[in-house]
Subunit: 211 residues, 2 copies
């Protein structure tokens, strides 16, 4: 759950992902009714959201997919290639490097782990550097985001150290909840159990009523 | 994004996770002000949510953590041990089996993959069965949920087959979006790029204004 974020902004990445998919399927226009069905809110709220994102007009084919996708991508910074550094390349790190399309979010990734005597190692084409040289890695690559996966360094310690080095965004898969007091730092704790509970509720007796 | 679910219900797993954490820390009461800060909505909306979940009274110490946790856990079905079957035990499957605390969501897991000649194999204590015997596996374990990880079986084909066998919940990590028309089936597509974009927006210039 996000703290105090405008709800339309919370929906923005979902809109972008949908427009991006339509764009890759060469679909040119989409109606607010179709968007409403996809996003799960009323067509009038869709129109309000889209207005808040930049006020795009609708033609007979609905919203112009190419135009809206480009504008939402710009707001999200997808068109501005940035770097993310992954800390730890254990089981979870490996899975993320293999299955998350970081390029679709406008990120290139470098990974750092405790490696000894191994240089030039790569996972899915991503260079793996030594965590003891984190200072140098960050100076070279200037990442905006750190991806924290389970590693033998406590997540709170690691995040504080990275924040001091100028990293502001923390995508936390460590399994430990992370809270940072640094005013310009933002944390996205990924809680998969919460997602599973959501599904669990929907299949429970009575849960389907709220489909 | 969930389709048309009541927003309080969307927040329910987050509340449960927080009350569960407080309970494990042996904290007995929590105020709506503290909940408000944690969940990121106003204290009055917190009171409205809690009322919708069952209407708990507040004492001088706020809500009774033990009581609310038990009630929310019951609504979510956490107190009723169920089974989930994981399809595919590649890199992502392994990571989920190692790092997701399924027991915290009230699930035991069995895994199925294309194994040949290997029986009795386990990952993190979870038995790995042969996907060719899925029928038998499902008859024995009667899972409520399938966890779909990337495997060489197309996710749509696999999900339809599982739905026919009576599985109603699909937690989809395959990377392919899954949509099912079966009226009683529910899909939770986990889109990690959407989560990354959310963080990316917050660290973008101007994004912090909506912290």
């Amino acid at each position: 759950m996000k703290r105090g974020i405008n709800v339309a902004i919370q929906r923005l990445p979902g809109y972008y992902r949908y427009f991006d998919k339509l764009h890759s399927m060469e679909i040119q226009g989409v109606s607010s009714a179709a968007l409403s069905k996809k996003i799960g809110i009323s067509p009038s709220l869709v129109r309000k959201d889209i207005c808040q994102f930049g006020g795009f007009g609708q033609t007979a084919y609905g919203y112009n997919v190419k135009e809206v996708r480009a504008k939402l991508g710009h707001i999200l910074g997808v068109d501005n290639l940035r770097c993310a550094v992954m800390i730890g390349t254990g089981c979870m790190g490996h899975a993320l490097l293999r299955y998350v399309r970081f390029d679709a979010a406008g990120f290139i990734v470098v990974a750092a782990e405790k490696v000894s005597g191994q240089t030039g190692r790569e996972i899915s084409g991503i260079p793996v550097l030594n965590v003891s040289e984190l200072d140098r890695v960050i100076q070279i690559h200037r990442p905006d985001i750190a991806i924290l996966t389970p590693s033998d360094i406590p997540v709170q310690t690691m995040a504080r150290q990275l924040a001091k080095m100028g990293i502001r965004g923390f995508w936390n898969f460590s399994g430990e909840e992370l809270a940072l007091d640094e005013p310009d730092c933002f944390v996205e704790n990924v809680d998969l159990v919460e997602s599973l509970l959501q599904l669990s509720y929907r299949i429970a007796p009575g849960g389907e009523a709220i489909k």
